[in-house]
C-alpha cells in the first residue's frame, strides 16, 4: 500500500460498553456502524464495501441495507479488523470500492445472538489439544509463558506489573470497566486461573462493538473529522495450535506483521508516539514490545517495570486501559484501532500530547495470527 493513500474518516464504538443485555450481536454491529456513519456524516447508501469477522459480512450488509461492491469476511480471530483495514486500503487503491465499513460487535458477556466459541472435535486443536483438558484461552494462550519467563528470567511480579500499569491508564478513561488502582500484590493475590496467571492478568469479558469507515486520502478532507491516514500495514499467520507455535519466546506472526508495517511506513520505532498491543492476557504486551522491535528479546518486562509505558512514560502503551481493564468482548482488535484513531484525532480520554504516529497491533486466536496498522494524523 502507498503510505497515506487511504484514511479513516469515521470511527466509533457502540453507544454503551460493558454489559448490554438489550442488544444482540448483530445489533451491536449496527449500533457501532450507525455511530461511525454519523461520525463521518454518511448514511448506509454511501457505503459500498463491508468487512467484518465473528458475524457474516452478508448479514451486516443486509441488516444495514448496504449493497456492496466489496465484501471481506477475513476471520482470523481478534486481529481480523487490522487485516480488514489493510485489505480495505488495498481495495480502495485498486478501485474495488470507495467507502468501506469495518464493523465489530460481540455479545461476549451477555451472549445474546452470539456465535459459539472454539473449534470442532475434528479440528487439529480438537484432536491434539482438547483431550488434555485444554479449553478456552485462559488455559491455552498462557501455555508458552513459563518457557518465556525461564528463558529471560522474568518474574511473576514483572508479569503482574503489566496489569498494574494498564489499570493506571484505565483510571484516566471514563469508559473503562475497571478503574480503581491496583498493586502488584493485588494481582498476585487475585484468584489463580491458570498458573502462573491470576484473574487480574486475564482480560475482561464484556459486550460491545466498534466500526471504522475508510476512504481515499484525497476524499478524506471533505469529511467533518480530522483524517487519520493509514501509513503502514502488516499481517501474518502462524499456527492453529498453541503447542505448535514455532518459538515459545517469540511470536513469528508478530514479527512478520510488524516488520511489514514498519517497512511500508518507512519509519523507525523511535518515531512512534503511541502504541496499542492487543492484551488478552498480561504476557502479550511483552511479546509485542519485543517482536515489534521496540525493545530487544527479554527486555520488555523490565521496560514496563521501569515505567516507560505508563502515563507520562516515553512509549504510552494501551492507553485506553486495554483488554485487561478497558473492555474485551472477545475480538478486541477493533478497540485497539479505535483508541489509535482517537489518539490521532486528539480526542482520547488519556490523550498523549502531540502524538503524530500510532501503532495498533493485534493478535488473532492464540498466537495464531497477527495484524499491524500504523496510523498518522499527518499525510506522508
Amino acid at each position: 500500500m502507498k503510505p497515506g493513500s487511504v484514511a479513516i474518516v469515521g470511527a466509533a464504538e457502540t453507544t454503551e460498553l460493558g454489559v448490554i443485555p438489550g442488544l444482540s450481536q448483530i445489533q451491536l454491529h449496527a449500533d457501532a456502524a450507525l455511530n461511525a456513519m454519523k461520525d463521518a456524516g454518511l448514511s448506509p447508501k454511501d457505503i459500498d464495501g463491508v468487512a467484518t469477522a465473528g458475524e457474516s459480512p452478508v448479514a451486516v450488509a443486509h441488516y444495514l441495507g448496504i449493497k456492496p461492491t466489496y465484501v471481506d469476511g477475513t476471520s482470523v480471530g481478534g486481529c481480523s479488523f487490522m487485516l480488514h483495514v489493510r485489505h480495505a486500503a488495498a481495495a480502495i487503491n485498486e478501485g474495488l470500492a470507495d467507502t468501506i465499513l469495518v464493523t465489530h460487535g460481540e455479545s461476549g458477556r451477555s451472549r445474546v445472538g452470539a456465535g459459539r466459541f472454539g473449534g470442532s472435535p475434528a479440528s487439529l486443536q480438537g484432536q491434539f489439544e482438547a483431550p488434555y483438558g485444554a479449553s478456552g484461552p485462559p488455559s491455552m494462550f498462557t501455555i508458552p509463558v513459563l518457557r518465556y519467563m525461564k528463558e529471560f528470567g522474568v518474574t511473576e511480579e514483572q508479569l503482574a506489573m503489566v496489569a498494574v500499569v494498564q489499570r493506571e491508564w484505565a483510571g484516566l478513561n471514563p469508559r473503562a470497566s475497571f478503574r480503581d488502582p491496583i498493586t502488584v500484590e493485588d494481582v498476585l493475590n487475585s484468584r489463580m486461573i491458570a498458573y502462573p496467571f491470576h484473574l487480574l492478568e486475564c482480560c475482561l469479558v464484556t459486550d460491545g462493538g466498534g466500526a471504522l469507515i475508510l476512504t481515499s486520502a484525497d476524499r478524506a478532507k471533505d469529511f467533518p473529522t480530522k483524517p487519520v491516514y493509514i501509513i503502514g500495514t502488516g499481517e501474518s499467520a502462524e499456527t492453529p495450535m498453541i503447542s505448535q507455535m514455532y518459538d515459545f519466546t517469540s511470536s513469528t506472526a508478530f514479527r512478520i506483521s510488524g516488520e511489514k508495517a514498519f517497512d511500508e511506513a518507512g519509519i523507525k520505532r523511535s518515531d512512534v508516539d503511541h502504541l496499542m498491543i492487543y492484551d488478552a492476557f498480561a504476557h502479550l504486551p511483552l511479546y509485542g514490545l519485543e517482536d515489534l522491535g521496540f525493545v530487544k528479546p527479554g527486555e520488555a518486562a523490565q521496560f514496563i517495570w521501569d515505567g516507560n509505558t505508563r502515563p507520562g512514560g516515553k512509549l504510552p502503551l494501551n492507553t485506553n486501559g486495554g483488554g485487561l481493564s478497558f473492555m474485551h468482548s472477545g475480538m478486541y482488535g477493533m478497540y485497539a484501532l479505535q483508541e489509535s484513531v482517537k489518539q490521532m484525532r486528539g480526542t482520547a480520554a488519556a490523550q498523549v500530547p502531540n502524538a503524530k504516529i500510532s501503532v495498533s497491533h493485534g493478535v488473532g486466536g492464540m498466537f495464531a495470527a497477527a495484524g499491524t496498522i500504523i496510523m498518522s494524523n499527518e499525510r506522508p
Partner: protein, 88 residues
C-alpha cells in the same frame, strides 16, 4: 513435512496449571496442561502424570517419557511422566 518414529523421550518445555476445569475434567482440577519437547525436536501438548501438579514438582526441562493412557477401546492418549530419577 516428514514422519518418523519417536522414542517417547523428551523434556518438559512449558505448561500451565489450569484451575478452571474443562468440561469432563472437573475432578482433576487444578491440573497441568503441558507441552513437551520430544528428543526428536517436535513439540506436543500432553498431560503430566504420576507427578504432583505443582510448580515445585513440575520443573521446566525435566526429562520426561511417554506413557499411554487407554481412555477407550479405540483411543490411547500419549501422556508423559518424569523419567525415574526426575530432575538431575
Amino acid at each position: 513435512m516428514e514422519s518418523f518414529n519417536a522414542t517417547g523421550k523428551g523434556t518438559l518445555h512449558s505448561y500451565v496449571i489450569n484451575h478452571r476445569a474443562a468440561p469432563g475434567f472437573e475432578a482433576d482440577a487444578p491440573y497441568a496442561i503441558a507441552v513437551v519437547m520430544l528428543d526428536e525436536g517436535v513439540k506436543m501438548m500432553t498431560s503430566m502424570v504420576n507427578v504432583e501438579q505443582t510448580p515445585e514438582a513440575l520443573q521446566l526441562d525435566m526429562p520426561v517419557e511417554v506413557t499411554f493412557d487407554p481412555v477407550s477401546e479405540a483411543i490411547s492418549l500419549p501422556k508423559f511422566q518424569p523419567v525415574s530419577g526426575g530432575v538431575k
